[in-house]
């Protein structure tokens, strides 16, 4: 009894190692993903958005507008086209994202207290850009309106302190919690890497059953009278340990070298990863149990693993998905995992809330393993 299990485990480890494709994927995939995504988000904020200013007035007042624009870190004035047509061309070519047009007679109109209108255009083709640009522009607008307003009031003979108070009696302070610098890398990198990791693990766990009873040596195993339970138990332990071993360097690099935030303790986070690894493996095993060959199993696995990140609501929130779809999203273990990552890593809301995540993932694992045992059993019965 106790001799068989280590032997099976050793053999499984060799099997994983000798499957060159799988070995490359498991060893290189997550780490490569980490470096890639760390690279992509190495400049983790969208600032210095290229801006063009069409200054048709060329006055003291118009230069003040420009100075105000300069003040924000988010915008960067790249050029001064001569007219609106040129600006339009620049936006179309994607060379600038924001265009500001200061009209002719801007200074004069302000002095005469006549209405004047500054036009701002934002390239909305890339929302990530556009949202940031819009926030920056809105801040500039408020400041500019206040400045000009105060001046106008004073020109009308209103006390300077009253004029100021009219515009600036309330200060608005904004705080972004959990990620104060709005660092995109903190938000996305870890989840993207773990997304790659879970896809790799899915590919490996899809081989669990079909990789065994899909080869001729299965006849030897059947003839030897080894219990299927013991066989697959030992194999699964090896798989899950390998998954965890693979995630360790990723965590080390992410949290220690790249200094990504981790608000809950590393032990809690590792435990959470472990319970997910188990439930992911159970899902892979389930797929493996009803697939007729390894290619089909890999395809089924990937069909689920690929869109799971999007479905998990890690980026586009589940609350914004259609009402009837929301419960379906929670069927996948990946949804619990990615949502859990978000909470654990950045918020750490405490055990009372998070124990649910452990519980559900654990229950999913039990369910999937039982189902795959059932399927394998049925298949064997038909086989005889």
């Amino acid at each position: 009894m106790f001799k068989q299990c280590p032997a099976i485990m050793k053999r499984e480890l060799f099997y994983m190692w000798r499957d060159k494709g799988l070995r490359n994927i498991l060893l290189i995939g997550p780490l490569l993903g980490l470096f890639l995504f760390m690279g992509i988000y190495s400049h983790p904020r969208i600032d210095h958005i290229t801006t063009a200013v069409v200054d048709l007035d060329q006055s003291e007042a118009s230069r003040q507008v420009i100075a105000e624009l300069r003040n924000t870190q988010d915008l960067e004035i790249a050029c001064y086209p001569e007219n609106f047509k040129q600006l339009e061309e620049l936006v179309k070519r994607g060379e600038v994202m924001v265009g500001v047009v200061i009209p002719e007679n801007y200074a004069k109109n302000i002095a005469l207290q006549r209405q004047t209108r500054v036009a701002v255009v934002i390239d909305g083709a890339n929302i990530t850009y556009a949202t940031n640009a819009a926030s920056a522009v809105l801040t500039v607008t408020r400041n500019l309106g206040a400045q000009v307003g105060v001046k106008t009031l004073i020109a009308r003979g209103i006390q300077p302190n009253q004029a100021k108070e009219a515009y600036q009696s309330i200060e608005f302070r904004e705080e972004a919690w959990f990620n104060p610098t709005l660092n995109y890398a903190y938000f996305l990198v870890l989840a993207l890497v773990l997304n790659i990791w879970q896809q790799c693990c899915m590919l490996a766990s899809c081989m669990n059953i079909v990789g065994e009873n899909g080869v001729r040596s299965w006849l030897q195993i059947k003839a030897s009278g080894l219990s299927a339970f013991k066989l697959f138990c030992s194999k699964s332990i090896v798989h899950i340990s390998v998954f965890m071993l693979l995630v360790l360097p990723v965590y080390y690099l992410a949290f220690v070298i790249f200094k990504l935030p981790l608000n809950c303790g590393i032990i809690t986070f590792l435990l959470f990863t472990l319970i997910f690894a188990v439930s992911l493996h159970s899902l892979g095993t389930l797929i493996s149990s009803f697939s007729s060959n390894a290619v089909d199993a890999s395809r089924f696995g990937m069909v689920i693993a690929l869109p799971s990140f999007v479905i998990s609501g890690f980026t586009w929130p589940i609350a914004a998905m259609p009402q009837w779809f929301q419960p379906l999203a929670w069927v996948l273990p990946q949804t619990w995992f990615f949502q859990g990552i978000n909470y654990f890593v950045l918020k750490n809301p405490g055990w009372e809330m998070m124990n649910r995540y452990f519980l559900v993932l654990g229950m999913m694992a039990v369910l999937c393993y039982s189902l795959s045992a059932l399927f394998t059993h049925c298949f064997q019965a038909r086989f005889r």
């Binding site: 499957d19 060159k20 494709g21 995939g29 993903g33 890639l36 995504f37 690279g39 992509i40 400049h43 936006v91 179309k92 004047t116 209108r117 036009a119 255009v121 934002i122 390239d123 083709a125 990530t128 949202t131 809105l138 500039v140 408020r142 500019l144 307003g149 009031l153 108070e165 009219a166 515009y167 309330i170 200060e171 608005f172 302070r173 904004e174 705080e175 972004a176 919690w177 990620n179 709005l182 938000f187 790659i196 790799c200 899909g214 001729r216 007729s292 060959n293 290619v295 890999s298 395809r299 990937m302 869109p307 479905i311 586009w316 929130p317 998905m321 259609p322 918020k347 750490n348 809301p349």
Partner: protein, 401 residues
Amino acid sequence: MQQLLNIAHYEVVHIFKDRILFLVVFVVPFIYASLLGMIYASSILQQVPLAIVDLDHSAESRAVVSAFENSNDFRVIPSVDTYAELEQGMKNGTVRAGVVIPEDYSQSLSQHRLTQILTVYDGSNLIYGYNTRRYFQLVLNTFSAEHTAAYLGGLGMSKQEIKSVMDSVSVTMQVWYNPNYSYSTFIFPGLIIIILHQIGLLGIGLTITREKERNTWLQYLCAAVPQWKIFMGKALPYFIVNFFNYGLLLWLAARFINVKLEGSLALILLLGLLFNIIITSLGFVISLYAPNSLQVSRYLMLLSVPLFFIAGYTWPGTHMPVLLYGLGKLMPFTWMAEGLRLVTLKDLGANYLAITIIIMSCMAAFTSFLAVTFTKRRNPAAEGGLVVNSGSTYPKKNFLN
């Protein structure tokens, strides 16, 4: 020609026989697109759950509250009253943004002292974070204008006068191309392209590995049929289906998911054509050199996420290291996704797309060249040794047949 059509005919016969391949080629792109379409159907992030901690409970603070209640962007969660509850709500995700009005708010205002309203938002999901930040700016701009108007009214100015002071300078902000920040318009065309890219490759990527696994590849090699005919014959069915899928998914996007699709149809078709040539020939080349179907399926699928992110489709390439930006530029997906966006979203003409079209044509020429110039000799089987699943076999349950 007859020979070519015959090869194509039998490839079609095979697609219809292999149930899973049939699904992959005809159904999976549609299902994926529908699934993702449903996810992004609402397309605009509205009704952000907001908690207002009003520590003042005065008429003035009530004005702040109502400014937020009137906004469609926020949904005020009434049960949160204290700062601690706000913290708790933000942590467990029931609340994504908060406003804190200090307890001396109205007192400060009446005593002409500076007071402060705190706005907080959840930075842990930056899709929430960025949007909430913008929504806050919008509401606060409106609110502070109202506040100023009320203050000036208090000074005894007439409505007319107030209006003229306030409007003396106004800033109009126009967002071109995607004025209501529709997320589906933004992300969906890119997703369609990555679906077509990956599923396209996966379909044709197994066409030669399959022949190798069944040893029938020998029959092509020992017959005097030229390479280009093998390629064209095998690729033709996939080419047609991919093009059909391209049209179908774009139609689906425009019709049901409210993705903005404008621009010249000719350009959309041209881009689709070039992209399709690249994908079918690339998939064929992969299939030629890959050892077996299992490896193709494994590697291809894993590429999806990195390809999408390196393309600079969401996170702009200008904010990436040059090396990665350059690497992204080598991928056909990068050019196709960007090209499609230029046409359908920005409605630009051919002169703006010249570079995209030239580069995609070069890629198409290059991949087709690779696909028709392969050698019709196999390498001798490498030293077997202790490797698994790397030859032309992989585990199959019906191995006894």
